[in-house]
Amino acid sequence: MPAADLRACDAALRRLLPAGGLLREEAELRPYECDGLSAYRRLPWRVALPETVEQVQAVVRCCRDHGVPVVARGAGTGLSGGALPLEDGLLLSLAKFNRILAIDPDNRLATVEPGVRNLAVSEAVAGHGLYYAPDPSSQIACSIGGNVAENAGGVHCLKYGLTVNNVAALKLVTLDGELLTLGGRALDAPGYDLAALLNGSEGLLGILVEVTVRLLPVPDYAQVVIAAFDDVQQAGDAVAAVLAAGILPAGLEMMDTLATRAAEDFVHAGYPADAAALVLCELDGSRAEVEAQLERVEAVLRERGATTVRRARDEADRLRLWAGRKAAFPAVGRLAPDYYCMDGTIPRHHLGRVLATIARWSEEYGLPVANVFHAGDGNLHPLILYDANQPGELERTEAFGARILELCVACGGTITGEHGVGVEKIDQMCAQFGAAELEQFHAVKRAFDPQGLLNPGKAVPTLARCAEYGRLHVHGGRLPHPELERF
């Protein structure tokens, strides 16, 4: 790739964007130096704030012509550094794309610009008795474009799926400035399912400028049951028993003692504070359906050794019980100056082994861990407590976190369930995938972005990086790519 011509690109961008649409001064650039993963910070070269699709197309073409990398950014709430700027790259903010374009209640679709907040979609369609199901914990702030880029999850994924399962169509600006529609308003589209591929592609394949999401009818009734257990493995087994009994809860969450106590102290949700593990199980649907399932869930939880089983007394109590779970991260955040949130997924039957290993390592590293678990879908969020002002503690925390993720891979799981790879977990990608898979990812990337200008350095590591990290998979004793240098 020829060296980027930043000076010429700057002059061209100033012509392409309206007044105030290109930020160049350090004080203006500062707010964009990081996303939700604030341990990584870097000032972007420039920030563009286009207002129209045509401006996005022109900006992307301009960057392509001058060899300048482009990092797209939504609300900046991501937890893996996917929107971390590049010092020689343009940060492309979609913040001004914040309109809801169309609501189609008959087909249960809403077409929105990528900067629209997740919760704003549900608010806009509430009058039709509909809502948008994926609910990442940052839903009051995070944007739909970012949700698609990360394939965001939430607490209702087991029953309602991730972002990819709730998106019908995307409009994508390619590196060539072409505007493509992927998917459509019908239930499928001809050709390859590029809409599925774009979900979770972390801004490496194109710039989203429009998203059509599927909507669901708001359930008549929702009710939550909490159950306390003396043992984490027992709680995990109880969760498995609920699912094996043929019940598909809307939400199925678990917290360990440290997380439960922190949440209780913070929001006074009414949790039993002495439990080794707390399970929250929410059912939704028609009242008759929910009532029938509640009895079965409670019976299974009791059979499996729950010491307390209790239904929410009323809607206010149900919301309070959820408030504790939803506030678990900030609640744990009160226990230490900093915390580091991990995002592995494991087949659920490994839960006991994984938590026991994490507890042992916690002693070894001298760093406490609180565990919050989307138990229904196996997505585990260990929160490592540390103090960034203590020399060496962040490095120790990252090393501990990396071991947890590699343990998830070893159990047949994954290094990231819903937060994305970004810059944060790029080295652990080397543990999850072999060289041939990584090469295939790079080939797919080149089909969209032959110059490698879209969010370079994120999500998929180079083979050289993996060799340096020392975690490259070796299949069948054959070292892949012997031509590569090893450091």
């Binding site: 308003r185 001809p190 699912l243 094996a244 359906e289």
Partner: protein, 355 residues
């Protein structure tokens, strides 16, 4: 992996690798139940059928992994024994239907609008790419955002991006009970009713209209279904399961016509399309089967104008099966094909020319 399966995988890998070296096209075959679907392929047959067997199934994990040549019927019987199902209700279209074929064809049955499509249930795949390299993407867990989602991309790619060798799918509990209701309605009224009912929290799981009757399936607990029936009315159909299976597999008498069959996929609430012919609506109006004498351009234009697309499902001009793609989108799909199959040897042309 047992020895026979290992040998079979090695032999598939060698065949693809040799075909890659020789730039020799391969026609990938499973059970052959959907051989009628897509454009014709000229190539040396590559049979995946023998590569069969369940790899992993723990009912409480709601995940099943199997080799791609495993018969769908075996998988469904195993799941049924544990009160579970493939919720996308893959059409079989014949006794030999395999898991790999179901994923490659990307077709889903009557439950699709409410449960999701095959692509929504694919969690991971093992493939041989067009160089014969064995690759695995996704996994056996429901939430996984590491790397590009190349597993879902295989759904509906008709084997043109990789030879599927194993698939992991999300499975779901079977509903405690199901009921089918019948209403006398014309097509327009049926579409309107489906849109209205779908916007309410009712336990719908299928909706089909044919010959003046709307068939509605409800799934859930006894109590939940009783509550819904009180709201909806309609007459109960006794052999509901047989009806929906015959619809899924095109054994319903509507499909006996022996004429070229169109499939139109449109936003479900679209009013009846202005196309003469005999039709049957599935997916609450989202999937419309049609026998028509109208020219292909007119059928495609009607589907496009409604926001959807039309496929020559069976018969007719097999060179012109799928709705033409806009040029820049087709170009991108060709580059993607090259990324996975650089020599263009995997089912070349089955989906579109150059794919």
């Amino acid at each position: 992996m047992n020895e026979a399966a290992h040998d079979k995988l090695d032999s598939l890998r060698d065949q693809v690798a040799q075909a890659f070296e020789a730039r020799r096209p391969l026609a990938v075959t499973g059970g052959g139940s959907k051989a009628f679907y897509g454009r014709p392929v000229e190539g040396e047959p590559l049979a995946v059928t023998g590569h069969r067997g369940i790899l992993d199934y723990e009912p409480s994990e709601l995940v099943l992994s199997a080799r791609a040549g495993t018969p769908l019927a075996d998988i469904e019987a195993l799941l049924a024994g544990h009160g579970q199902m493939l919720a996308f209700e893959p059409p079989h279209f014949g006794p030999g239907a395999t898991l790999g074929g179901a994923v490659a064809c990307g077709l889903s049955g009557p439950r699709r609008p409410w449960a999701g499509a095959v692509r929504d249930f694919v969690l991971g795949v093992s493939i041989l790419n067009g160089r014969g390299e064995p690759l695995s993407f996704g996994g056996r867990v429901m939430k996984n955002v590491a790397g590009y989602d190349l597993s879902r991309l295989m759904a509906g790619a008709l084997g043109t991006l990789g030879v599927l060798t194993a698939v992991s799918v999300k499975v779901l509990p079977r509903p405690e009970t199901e009921a089918t209701l019948v209403f006398e309605r014309d097509a327009a009224a049926a579409i309107e009713a489906c849109a209205r009912w779908s916007a309410r929290p009712l336990p719908l799981s299928a909706a089909c209209h044919h010959a003046g009757r709307l068939y509605l399936r409800l799934s859930g607990s006894e109590r939940g279904i009783r509550g819904a029936r009180e709201q909806l009315g309609g007459e109960a159909l006794n052999d509901g399961d047989a009806f929906w299976t015959s619809l899924r597999d095109h054994r319903h008498p509507f499909f006996d016509a022996g004429r070229p069959l169109w499939r139109l996929s449109v936003p479900p609430a679209s009013p009846p399309l202005a196309l003469a012919g005999d039709g049957l609506l599935d997916w609450g109006g989202g999937q419309r089967w049609l026998y028509t004498d109208a020219p292909a351009e007119q059928v495609r234009e009607a589907a496009r104008a409604a926001g959807g697309h039309a496929t020559r499902f069976r018969g007719g001009d097999r060179g012109d099966v799928f709705q033409p793609l806009p040029a820049p989108l087709l170009a991108l799909q060709r580059r993607l094909k090259q990324a996975l199959d650089p020599a263009g040897i995997l089912n070349p042309g089955r989906l579109y020319e150059g794919l």
